[in-house]
Each structure stands twice: as structure tokens, then as C-alpha cells.
């Protein structure tokens, strides 16, 4: 094979790749999903009770709610991918999937870049402690402590903002903020004594306390502003009708009591979630 053949065939392959997506652009994403009878959903399935894997299947609050919403798309097959949280929003951006159905906290940055459906749960940051550690009684006791959270998570932002606030109030601030790839490793380090506290959204903490009784405790007060979990789509005209279909479905679940019922099932408590519009994030 001569060099010219190699170069020409490579160039041909490249042109083919570029030419491929040009057709079918007159239909929007929702129409293409209905036509293909397949929707590709991305999830980070290690965030119990929102999403986790049991017996090889993704289960959880988001999964149940998603299946409720998808009743509006009969006959459409769901292809659900599981990947680390840090890959979810970049992959959505790169059009690897149609929608992210995973508990993502709505923040200012994310709202600017992605189109969120209506919120599905409260995401305000709580403080998880070791049950035998009695030195932390209020959020301000985090001065001088080592606190962990997850890379890319909004609770990390809340923690950083709270640390700043502690310093503005004249305290020494948090001693060190440790960033983990997943919350599970942070919990393990807290139990092992390498951390004094973990900043994590309140709905996630209930099931953890139940699964490991006597190991952890939760501070009654929360830190940072009120935030919400929601599912994200791409912020373009192509995705608009799909995001609206999900928003409508979530609003329906909120009104007919399905949402409260699923919250009792997965969190053991209920929370108020706005059903008309997404509150503007302050963080």
C-alpha cells in the first residue's frame, strides 16, 4: 500500500464522518426519539437512594419518577448508561446522550449551560458527622475541621462558600477541604477518622444512617442556600421539546401525589418541591 493510498483513504473516511450528521436535522430531538423508538439516558448509578444498581438493574427515586414520565412516550425503548458524575454533563454537551436523569444540583453555572426540567427533590447541603464525635454541635463548629465532599458536586461549592463565610466572620475557617471522586469514599474516610465531616445533600443522608446504624450522625442545621436536584438536557432549540415533556411529566407527578409517594418510598420523608417553575439558583 503506497502512502498516497493511505492518505487518500484516511481523508475519505474523515469526509464520510463529517458528511454523516447533515441529514435529519429538520426534525427536533423529541421527534427523532419517537421515530427511532429509543431514548438514551445517562445516569450516575452510585448515588443511593436517587440511583443505584441492584441485581444488575438501575433502581431508585429518579428511576421510578423517570418511568412515570416516560409513560408519555409509549413504545420508546430506554437505553440507560451508567457513568461517573464528572462525565455526565460533558457527555451531554458532546451529544453522547439525549438527557441526564441523575440527581444534579441546579447551580448558576449549570443553568447557564444546560436546560433543566422542573426540580425533583430538595438538594440543600447538610453536614454528616461521626456518631461518636461530639465536638461539632452547630455548623460554625466546622472551624478548624477537615471536611470532605465530591469533585464537581454542588455541595462542594456550598462547602467552599460556607468556609469563606466562616473566615469573614473572623474564624479560622475549615482546616482542609478534601475532594473525593465519589461520596462513598468520603463516607469511608469519615468513618475511619480521616475526616471530621462530609458535606452532602440532605435527602442522601437518611438511607446512609439506616444502612450503617450507629456509625454516622447528621447535624440538624444545613449550610449554604436552598438548592434543588433536577434532570438536565441540552440548552438548544433541538432539545427544548424533550425537556418540556419531562418538565410536564414531573409537574404531573407533583400534583397527583406520585412524587410524595416515591419520596416516602426512597427517602422515608417528604419535601416540598416547586411544581410551577425552577427557582433561580443563588449559588
Amino acid at each position: 500500500m503506497s502512502i498516497r493510498t493511505i492518505v487518500l483513504s484516511l481523508a475519505g473516511t474523515f469526509m464520510l464522518c463529517v458528511a454523516l450528521p447533515s441529514h435529519s436535522q429538520d426534525k427536533d430531538l423529541l421527534e427523532r426519539i419517537k421515530e427511532k423508538k429509543e431514548i438514551v439516558i445517562a445516569t450516575e448509578a452510585r448515588y443511593a437512594p436517587f440511583e443505584s444498581v441492584e441485581n444488575g438493574k438501575i433502581v431508585g427515586y429518579d428511576e421510578d419518577l423517570m418511568n412515570y414520565v416516560l409513560k408519555a412516550l409509549p413504545g420508546v425503548k430506554v437505553t440507560q448508561l451508567d457513568l461517573p458524575f464528572q462525565g455526565l454533563l460533558p457527555g451531554l454537551d458532546a451529544k453522547r446522550f439525549d438527557l441526564v436523569v441523575s440527581a444534579a444540583t441546579v447551580t448558576k453555572d449549570r443553568v447557564n449551560r444546560f436546560a433543566f426540567a422542573l426540580p425533583v427533590a430538595d438538594a440543600t447541603t447538610g453536614v454528616l458527622l461521626r456518631a461518636n464525635d461530639h465536638s461539632i454541635k452547630s455548623p460554625s463548629d466546622l472551624n478548624g475541621k477537615v471536611v470532605g465532599s465530591q469533585v464537581g458536586a454542588a455541595t462542594l461549592l456550598a462547602l467552599i462558600a460556607y468556609d469563606k463565610k466562616l473566615k469573614e466572620e473572623g474564624g479560622p475557617g475549615v482546616k482542609e477541604i478534601k475532594q473525593y471522586v465519589g461520596f462513598d469514599e468520603a463516607y469511608a474516610d469519615l468513618a475511619a477518622g480521616r475526616l471530621d465531616a462530609v458535606a452532602q445533600s440532605v435527602p442522601n443522608l437518611g438511607p446512609l444512617l439506616k444502612a450503617r446504624p450507629g456509625v454516622f450522625a447528621v447535624l440538624p442545621a444545613t449550610i449554604g442556600p436552598k438548592t434543588y436536584f433536577a434532570w438536565a438536557g441540552r440548552k438548544d432549540a433541538d432539545s427544548a421539546s424533550l425537556v418540556k415533556l419531562f418538565s410536564d411529566g414531573i409537574a404531573r407527578a407533583n400534583h397527583d401525589g406520585t412524587m410524595k409517594q416515591l419520596q416516602m418510598k426512597w427517602f422515608g420523608m417528604t419535601m416540598d418541591v416547586p411544581s410551577d417553575s425552577m427557582p433561580t439558583p443563588t449559588m
Binding site: C17, P21, A45, S52, V53, A94
Partner: protein, 220 residues
């Protein structure tokens, strides 16, 4: 923590981990086999008299060896999509791992090729064997026999390198471990068990490699 409880929990994790182990194993096997042929191809290029082809092969090897596996996988997952050709995660992983191990295998094989006496090739030419026949029937069997220990060690490296494929939505052994750790809130025991699965896979591979070595040693 009582021992029977621990054992019962570990048995509970086993079926899912086995699923993940199957994914890890077949990805590794595809990568090692495709990587072997691609490795031979790269070696042939680098040994060619055409300076452009030889330069391409050298650049390829240094790019692959000089960048992290994780970054390579992300490139093979996201770049085709940007060009309008969305490959499934498993396929991107297979391609990425194959091209990665091809660079390493070409270096291992290169050492083997260099140790074959020039006279054998000349003899093959005298017998009217084409360059390709000489490569597959005379050089490669000897090269494989010579470099087998290094190839097996590379195979074990590939198995361990697959542990990062979950970033491109492939549910391998490591990802199953993460999923189980998340549900059970007991990462220590889940990850220890996952490590045992990796050890089992790599031990089997090195035992198979040693058996093959002994077979070859008996024949020659």
C-alpha cells in the same frame, strides 16, 4: 463484624462482580489480540526503509506511551461523536485499549525481531518465500516464543488498565465494585473483593502463559 455475615454479604456481591469480570476479561482479550496484530504492523512500519512510515510508527508509539490511558479513552469516546459517528462505549474502549497495547506490544516484539539472525531471512528469500510468508511463517513464531514472558506481562497490564473504562459508560469489574460500594456503604470489603477478582484473572493469565512457555520449550 461477624464472619458469617461478612461471608453472606460477599456471596451476595459475587454474581454482579462476576458480570463485571466477564466484561473486563473480554475487553482485555479483544485488546490483546487486536493489539498483537496492530503491534506487528507498527513494527513492520518502523522497520521499513520509507522514512515517512518509520517516522509515523515512532511518533505513534511515543504519543501512546506518553499520554495517560484515561485521556486516550476520552478521545476515542468523544472525538468520533464530534465528527458525527457516535461509537458505543464498549467499542470505543475496545479500540482505545487495542491501540494502546499495540504501541507497547510493538516495542516488545521489536526486541524479538532484532534477535532473529539475518541469515534466516536471506535463506527464506533463496527459497522464494515472499516477504509476508517469511514474516508469518519464520519470524513471528520465533518472536512470540522469545518474547512470551514480556507479552504475558503486557497482557496483565492491559487487564489492570481496563479499570478506567467506566468513564466512558462501560460497566466493567471496577464500576460494578463502585456500584456495590454505593449501595452497601461498605467500600472496603467490596473493593477488596473486586481486587481478588482482578488477581484471579491475572493469575489465570500468567499460569496459561507459563504452560504455553513450557510447551514451546519442549518442542524446540
Amino acid at each position: 463484624m461477624s464472619a458469617p455475615d461478612l461471608l453472606a454479604r460477599c456471596l451476595g456481591y459475587a454474581p454482579q462482580l462476576l458480570d463485571g469480570a466477564v466484561t473486563t476479561l473480554y475487553l482485555s482479550l479483544i485488546a490483546v489480540v487486536c493489539g498483537f496484530f496492530a503491534g506487528v504492523f507498527i513494527h513492520v512500519l518502523s522497520a521499513s526503509h520509507n522514512r515517512l512510515l518509520a517516522g509515523f510508527a515512532r511518533t505513534y508509539v511515543s504519543v501512546i506511551r506518553g499520554t495517560p490511558m484515561l485521556a486516550q479513552l476520552l478521545v476515542f469516546y468523544y472525538v468520533p461523536t464530534a465528527l458525527g459517528l457516535p461509537l458505543p462505549g464498549v467499542m470505543s474502549a475496545a479500540i482505545g485499549l487495542s491501540l494502546n497495547t499495540a504501541a507497547y506490544q510493538s516495542q516488545i516484539l521489536g526486541a524479538g525481531f532484532r534477535s532473529i539472525p539475518r541469515g534466516q531471512i536471506e535463506a527464506a528469500q533463496t527459497f522464494n518465500l515472499t516477504r509476508r510468508q517469511a514474516l508469518w511463517h519464520i519470524e513471528i513464531p520465533q518472536v512470540v516464543a522469545l518474547t512470551l514472558p514480556a507479552l504475558v506481562s503486557e497482557m496483565i497490564d492491559v487487564v489492570k488498565a481496563t479499570a478506567v473504562v467506566s468513564v466512558i459508560a462501560v460497566t466493567d469489574l471496577m464500576r460494578v465494585g463502585q456500584q456495590l460500594a454505593s449501595v452497601s456503604y461498605r467500600p472496603l470489603e467490596v473493593y477488596t473483593l473486586a481486587a481478588c477478582y482482578y488477581l484471579a484473572i491475572t493469575t489465570l493469565l500468567s499460569l496459561a502463559g507459563r504452560a504455553l512457555e513450557r510447551r514451546i520449550a519442549r518442542r524446540t
